[in-house]
Symmetry: C2
Subunit: 459 residues, 2 copies
């Protein structure tokens, strides 16, 4: 990186907010994925004006800029593939406003999900879509990736809560769009162009989020199924009954076996278990909804059905689901959690297919998922030092993506495209759709400086 650029950055944000130290460059080369590429410099801006000045300069000089939150994503979304500047927004971490009467909050992008949740909880409100990484993930990252989580079935995803944004465009101009009102139809919806755009269209510097009343009571139950098709039918029947579980998770047999082999949880090694949680404002409301769902489990040949009678019992029922990732991660030197998502009625078909692929390629693919919204997490666990096994994993993944699309589903329900799924975009998107996405990129970032190399935007 040229000295004059470094000097400009130091003048703009202060010397203490710029680093080129090797140890920092190594940290900023990675996210929670396998991908890695070092930036030339990392900068911690603290104001929108600083971000604007940096973008203006970078655009003039043609220097790549990769915005970054907590980098908890799993698909290389914020790995600076072309080097240049990493914009770490972690020091823009203020909750600027919480207005309960207006049911909104205004935050800077570096606010951590849990920091916001801790602020909202005593007020009886929430921003519901909490990703599994909520203890570390930032709200800016949640918006840039349209983060999901376990509560998607009832509460949707981040996109359903973003009311307004301030975004610094590639050329440094500051765009304020959206509104503080619950209804808004004033011109084009520019807000949702940026939600899920993975830092490729602009740098989000302020976010206005809609808040929801926080449920005060939950109820939990678990059911075992000896046949996967029965579990699938139970999920379908829950949807048909108009039930609204706040959580409906599935853990299938390969995952149960993997957990048993590596813990002393002693889980039943059935075809699948379904874990359900209902929530609401009253105990009665939660229990009524839960009993309705338990009735559906039983009508669809559930084996054992356990209902939690206390918070401790609920925690015990969650054990299988919550331990899955950590257990699978210990089995081998590499684990990658996919987020293949299908229409809800196709979950059993997808799980059957994953089982077939697992056998075909002799791979462990333990799977857990959000049955309430069709978002499955097949975990590929293997030895990356073995090129032959790695090749099998790649083949299995390609088949999985193609199958998801064939079932009317998508490559990615919540992890994003980034680098990891860029080569597969054509499976899901027509030439017209890719053309439109590339035109949009060109419109917002004609010099391709914002997080370049992602989402197959370069054709």
């Amino acid at each position: 990186m040229e000295e004059k650029i470094l000097s400009f950055l130091k003048e703009t944000v202060g010397e203490e907010n710029v680093t080129t130290d090797l140890i920092d460059m190594l940290s900023y080369a990675t996210d929670a994925s396998e991908y890695t590429h070092r930036p030339d410099v990392a900068v911690w801006p603290t104001t929108t004006e600083q971000v604007s000045a940096i973008m203006k300069m970078a655009n003039e000089e043609g220097i790549p800029v990769t915005p970054r939150g907590a980098a908890t994503n799993l698909s290389g979304l914020c790995v600076p593939l072309k080097g240049g500047i990493v914009l770490d927004l972690g020091r823009m971490n203020k909750i600027l406003e919480v207005s309960i009467p207006d049911r909104l909050t205004v935050v800077q992008p570096g606010v951590v999900y849990m920091q916001l949740d801790d602020e909202l909880a005593p007020l009886g409100f929430a921003f519901p879509p909490d990703p599994a990484s909520g203890k570390a993930a930032t709200i800016g990252g949640n918006v840039a990736t349209n983060a999901g989580g376990v509560k998607g079935a009832k509460y949707g995803t981040t996109k359903d809560y973003v009311m307004g944004l301030e975004v610094v465009l590639a050329d440094g101009r500051i765009l304020r769009t959206g509104s503080r009102t619950q209804k808004w139809v004033s011109g084009f919806d520019l807000v949702h162009i940026f939600v899920g755009s993975e830092g490729t269209l602009g740098v989000i510097t302020e976010i206005t989020l809609k808040l929801s009343p926080r449920p005060t009571v939950t109820a939990t139950a678990l059911a075992t199924f000896d046949k996967l098709s029965d579990a699938g039918r139970a999920v379908t029947a829950i949807m048909e009954a108009g039930a609204q579980p706040s959580v409906l998770e599935i853990v299938e047999k390969n995952c149960l076996r993997a957990i048993n082999q590596n813990t002393d949880l002693g889980l039943p090694e059935v075809a699948a278990i379904l874990l359900v949680e209902t929530d609401g404002a009253t105990e009665d409301q939660c229990q009524t909804e839960l009993d309705k769902i338990i009735g559906i489990f039983k009508a669809n040949k559930a084996g054992e059905v356990r209902k939690a009678k206390s918070a401790e019992e609920a925690e015990a029922l969650w054990a299988a689901r919550k331990s899955a990732f950590a257990v699978i991660a210990r089995i081998n030197n590499t684990v990658e959690a996919e987020d293949t998502t299908v229409p809800i009625s196709k979950i059993a078909d997808l799980l059957d297919f994953i089982d077939e692929v697992s056998k075909k390629y002799n791979l462990a693919i333990p799977t857990v998922g959000h049955a309430g919204d069709g978002n499955m997490h097949p975990h590929f666990s293997w030895d990356r030092t073995n090129p032959e096994e790695t090749a099998r994993v790649q083949k299995a993944k390609a088949e999985l993506y193609a199958k998801a699309v064939e079932l009317g589903g998508t490559l990615t329900g919540e992890h994003g495209i980034g680098k990891g799924k860029a080569p597969y975009m054509h499976l899901e998107h027509s030439d017209v759709a890719m053309d439109v996405m590339r035109s949009l990129k060109k419109m917002f970032d004609p010099k391709n400086i914002l997080n370049p190399g992602k989402m197959a935007l370069e054709g």
Copy 2:
């Protein structure tokens, strides 16, 4: 219109689906607004391929095309200001699929809201954002205008339910975007670019909508307030309490007076009444929520509080709200319902301001509104044959729009920009935002053939 163009249209859609009759051109010159401009020809396409062929030709020839549903909008959104072709999508009116397990429906754009609702009701499901015009309005129009309605506070607006779209672009290419999955982060969100774009970016030819379980029970109450500020405080307190009314409507004194002067309803002429409805799956759930809200009414100096004990009593409580528009429309030869929307905590401030403006310009501006989402409907009622009075109305409106923006609100919460509010876009949107909107228009429609003359997109 040149003969070769007419021939092409007749060949494409069949002679019976093309008209240039004067009577038809007069009908297609208007919507539910005051604006009027005749097209040269109207066409009823019945397939996506026909729409594609027409757009390809129109783009090559540079002929304006204005897509149209039931034309129930109030701001001139589908008046063909530059003539050319009106694409009436009313004959693409099939419900293609209802999948309750997947919680979605796929419809053509000409399906009427109520037609869809009648199909969904027996299944126990709904597409909740029902506009007041739901008996006539089409789903394509709802999506193109991001339609709202009385249930926005609890159920959001159309944008919250659109999962996928098929859109014919200005040059005739067919774009399929979005998904049949409840979670989806595969590339840019192109879906929401078209939601609320008022037919200026593409022609929507197929829509995939998310469905919600249909509430089976409702409960209704009404409270009177002698001071507007008390009604405002009650609304704020309802928001703070985490209550979720399905409907929370306000009718203020000028409106109550207008209704009394023109009906024998004998409403209390207080500062304002609040009408509340709760809904849910059980009677207990509805009544608990309603009682909580009634408690808040009483704590905020409500005068009379009436709770409906039957469906008939509920209907009677609704009388003031439901009769408002029809009554106001009879007072004078012109009525225009604005949809000024502010953050919920600013409703009382806005109503106070409307009262001031009403006195300043000696105009009747009776107002009802959706207090639960900040969306007010001040009704301008006047004699359009009187130029002096019309000038006062224009001045009053301009002051109203500026005040809404000053209060952190918007020009339009649910009616859209169209022609009516295009001159005021600059009040709400910065030069940067307008630039981005115009770039987007240029990207999708470089020859400016799609619904030209709207939304201040021409600079």
